[in-house]
Amino acid sequence: MALSGIEIFKLTPRKNCKECGFPTCMAFAMKVASGAVEIEKCPHISAEAKEKLAEATAPLMKTVKIGTGDYEHALGGETVLFRHEKTFVNKTLFAVQFSDAMDDDELARRMENIKKVDYERIGEQMHVEIVAVKYTGNRSRYLDIIKRLKELQKIFVLVCDDVDAATEAAALVKETKPVLVGANNDNLEEMVKLAKESGIVLGLNAPGVEEMYALVEKTHQLGYKELILNAGSENMAKTFENAVEFRRTALVGQDRTFGYPSIVFVNELAKGDSYLQTALAATFIMKYGSIVVLDDITYANALPLFALRQNIFTDPQKPMRVEPKVYEFANPKEDSPVLVTVDFALTYFVVSGEIERAKVPVYLLVPDAGGLSVLTSWAAGKLSAGVIANAIKSSGLEEKLNRKRLILPGKVAVLKGDIEEELPGWEIIVGPSEAMQIPKFLNELN
């Protein structure tokens, strides 16, 4: 909550000595409130007042870092409830959960799946960032599994409310800045002590919003602020409510008590139903889950979830664009075909990915289409026969090619006739409407 001029005035010594360059402390305070002057300009300001001001101007939602080195990730730090207001900054991270109750086969299977699901989508490498390890009572097995999971080099989330087990587990991984989800009303002091000693982020468990609020306040009193709030694992409606209330209390209520990232155990909410798990994971990507815990990762659930995350955590103001120009694939020659697409990054990456898969030499012409998708730019008049013909003419391709073939995206087949008129000597071919059909199409083109 930003402080008003009056509130800042109360923090000044009220001496009106003018050393700050303003005639009165009040005038100075007003300038500080508007952000025009730093509080430090008053040489008489107390350290205590400075701290109060710093607290008041700190972000409403804390950014918490987990993991180290190349595996470090930031959570939280959001400033709005809706992405059209301002970009969501720290994307939801995905975790796969293990437990000491799991046999070796299951352990190996999930580890294998985590390794397998690692792929690129529109310039971003997609993979699970976290392994969550749940303690159910078998201490030696728990520690053994943690040791074995180190091989994956993921961030650890230890799910454990037993202080002794947590202490041993934390000792194994503390240098990797893990999270320990397990502090509650009964074990708070010991857990905070452990978290402080080993420098790990502490996850808080409470049965409801009000209990969680009291628990965070208690944790603050113990002097710890590296926190994550567990939104839930038992009841879907309640978990959704918690996730919304945490975020809203912090940003709308301007109350930093809830200004922390959250974790959501959608695996437990879904009780083994993988479709329901996906529906819930999608929900908490959109509504304020900082870490979403899954039972397992396969391409089937990863493809939609990573795709959604990639959409939601983008700048709402400007579409991602690529440079309009001619791109070359597999050393095209004077008889290679010219494919046309648009400069919307999503479209370009989807199309270029398929062309690479086809391993066929082609040119890819990207005109300036306003950074819009194929149909959007066509409907907006930015991808017309004229635009495409001009792009061809200024590309130098006409001089380079002895066989002139232009392949249109199937969705703008209607442009064919007009382009034929504008580009005499060119053979205009309508391509498939989905990029995934490009390899087959190119391999059958002669």
Binding site: T249, A279, L303
Partner: protein, 319 residues
């Protein structure tokens, strides 16, 4: 300090619109809080989930999905009945894919026959979807509206290019409901609703289709458009944006690569039907959280999942 809830009370409310007739009529809309925020106040009617069926044997559908309807695909009315009896959707979306001039180009008369048979076979509300060809849809919707007078179907949809005919026949003459379709833009949505009003179509008879997209394919624009529309409807009490929203999910999610790539093309990705259902379910949930009051899906498993999802998210489920 004690906990203080920061919920906002809204002055506006999404209007309630009723589809279908008799015992099986369903109402959508009616919320005066953000989507699924049941802890804030009245969420209105739980969102409704419809199953899509088409008027021809859908060659482009996944084989495993067609197998579910083995034996009834050739007869649309049988198909509709089978879907209702076995999967209990909230409504049926009958899509006239066969009428597409770029496809089978079935005549309007043929489509009317199919529509009548389907309406006779099931007593759930019907959503009548067209071909995306505005001229053909205009004729198709007018004729189907006449043939199904009294059924109170939802016509999906009227666009800027054909709203006059579709609105006049659908809502004014034969008293059905109309979905006004626009392309992911709050101002376009508002404008088409106003045009509908000027034509004489009452707000009580209007639903919006504000665009649709699969997750990963421009979905962020859709979601933000829906956020903005709902915030204007509730927060600014903007009566030109208070219509419930219907979002077709199925027509977007089954064609994208994540769903449609064959197992030969992407061996690492595994079962394609599994991928397609997961894609449909993820998009459906994301659309519901963005504020859709009704959605259309294709796979019975998606329908079942989303029903469980809704009842639990609204706190009325067993979980």
């Amino acid at each position: 300090m004690a906990y203080k809830k920061a919920a906002k009370k809204y002055s506006g409310e999404i209007r309630e619109v009723t589809l279908g007739s008799g015992d099986k009529a369903v109402a959508i809309g009616g919320k005066n809080v953000l989507p699924i925020h049941s802890f804030d106040g009245n969420v209105g009617n739980p969102p409704k989930i419809g199953l899509e069926i088409v008027d021809i044997v859908p060659e482009d559908w996944h084989d495993d999905l067609k197998k579910i309807y083995d034996g009834v695909l050739e007869d649309t009315a049988e198909w509709a009945k089978f879907a209702v009896d076995n999967f209990a959707p909230d409504f049926i979306c009958l899509r006239f894919a066969g009428a597409d001039p770029d496809g089978k180009n079935k005549s309007v008369e043929e489509c009317v026959e199919t529509a009548k048979k389907v309406a006779a076979a099931v007593d759930l509300p019907l959503v009548i979807a067209g071909t995306k060809n505005v001229e053909k849809d205009e004729k198709l919707f007018s004729a189907v509206a006449e043939a199904l007078a009294g059924e109170n179907v939802l016509i999906l949809s009227a666009r800027e290019e054909n709203y006059k005919t579709v609105g006049a026949a659908g809502a004014l003459a034969y008293k059905h409901k109309i979905a006004a379709e626009t392309s992911v833009d709050i101002n376009l949505a508002k404008q088409l609703n106003i045009l509908m009003n000027q034509l004489g179509v009452q707000n009580e008879d209007l639903v919006m289709n504000v665009g649709s997209a699969a997750v990963g394919y421009g979905f962020e624009y859709l979601s933000s458009t829906m956020d903005r529309i709902i915030l204007a409807a509730l927060g600014q009490n903007d009566s030109t944006l208070q219509m419930p929203i219907i979002t077709p999910v199925s027509t977007e999610t089954w064609t994208v690569k994540e769903s449609a790539a064959s197992e030969d093309d992407e061996p690492a990705w595994g079962s394609s039907i599994e991928r397609a259902i997961q894609m449909e379910v993820a998009t459906a949930a994301a659309v519901l959280v963005s504020g859709a009051d009704a959605i259309i899906v294709r796979h019975p498993k998606s329908l079942a999942t989303m029903k469980t999802f809704i009842s639990n998210m609204l706190g009325s489920g067993l979980n």
